[in-house]
Amino acid sequence: MEWLRRQRYLIDYSLSALARRPGKHLGLLLVYTLIVFLLASVMLFTQSLRREAALVLAESPEIILQRQVAGRHDLMPSAYLEKIGTIRGVAAKYGRLWGYFYDPAVRANYTLLVPPESSTQHQTPAPGEIAIGAGIARTRGLAVGDYLSLRSARGEPFSFRVASILSQSTELVSSDLMLLSADDFRRFFDYPEDRVTDIVLQVRNPREVRKVAGEGDASPCRTPARSCARRSCAPTTPSSAGARGSSSCCWGRCSPSPSSPPTAPRA
């Protein structure tokens, strides 16, 4: 009790001393409070995003093969799927079709994506129809049954009927998504029939991902390429955080073709 009484006297004395210059000390208290508030908010928000990304992106593809020409991404020939052959440990391999579209009406980019054929949860929209993320629906004021008109790569107007809107609770990963059929995607972007955006390799055993990624790089695709292996990356950005987002890249060890000089990425 004696100790507590002494502490209270000390607090009384300290507060009386601080109250002699109330403006200065209240200002300091306000500044310190704001600094702690800002730093704590940023740290908590960043940490929550990292954790969310680690949980949500755990199911993203194990390995993604991309093609590079002169230091820039290039479309991947579909024939590479067969040329890559059967790599031991790979459960499935298929090409992805996706890209970006800048909508001048809202000054924002959409991510146009063709759902993989293996997707059972999200059926590929019928020709002329799209499924959009909640962010696009909100920004453009769209509802199911409305039409969205965009200008295609050839400058022609392209009308899509909104068949469905992705769940608002998945907006963190789907806000700007626009799902459409492969035919619509190719016609809209004037996309070559024999090309895909990149190639997905699914690996059953997580411990084999790095080895398979190495074999994917060394496959006879005869082009500078890189593979992004999901399970071997370190947490970095909010989006690829938590050691699960696909960000680990084993840069190309493919033999460059005579017509395309090696373009190994540099710092």
Binding site: L57, H73, T111, L166, L172, P235, T237, P265
Partner: protein, 100 residues
């Protein structure tokens, strides 16, 4: 009322509120299990790779899919075009590749 009483009451109230916020976070985490499962299912179904945090540049929309050159696509010394580029660094594995 002594000043120390007022001070101790303020500190006690703030501590109680901090504990309540931690409790609230814990309860919300349990409630959000279904939402996370739904997002995870969408990622698996559509082969998504990144969170849709920023849409203005491809290296901030899909940092895991961009290459080392994307932020400097116009010129090696080009100034960053997009504000979000200063908020989303390149993935650590790519930055590690830049180390000698």
């Amino acid at each position: 009322m002594r000043k120390s009483d007022l001070f101790l009451a303020t500190v006690s109230t703030a501590s109680a509120l901090l504990l309540l916020s931690a409790l609230d976070a814990s309860l919300r985490a349990r409630a959000s299990v279904e939402i996370i499962a739904e997002r995870s299912a969408l990622v698996a179904a559509l082969d998504l790779t990144d969170l849709a945090l920023f849409t203005e540049a491809r290296y901030t929309r899909h940092p895991s899919q961009a290459d080392l050159h994307s932020a400097f696509q116009d010129h090696p010394m080009a100034i960053e075009h997009f504000p979000s580029g200063s908020l989303v660094p390149a993935p650590k594995r790519i930055l590690d590749l830049a180390q000698p």
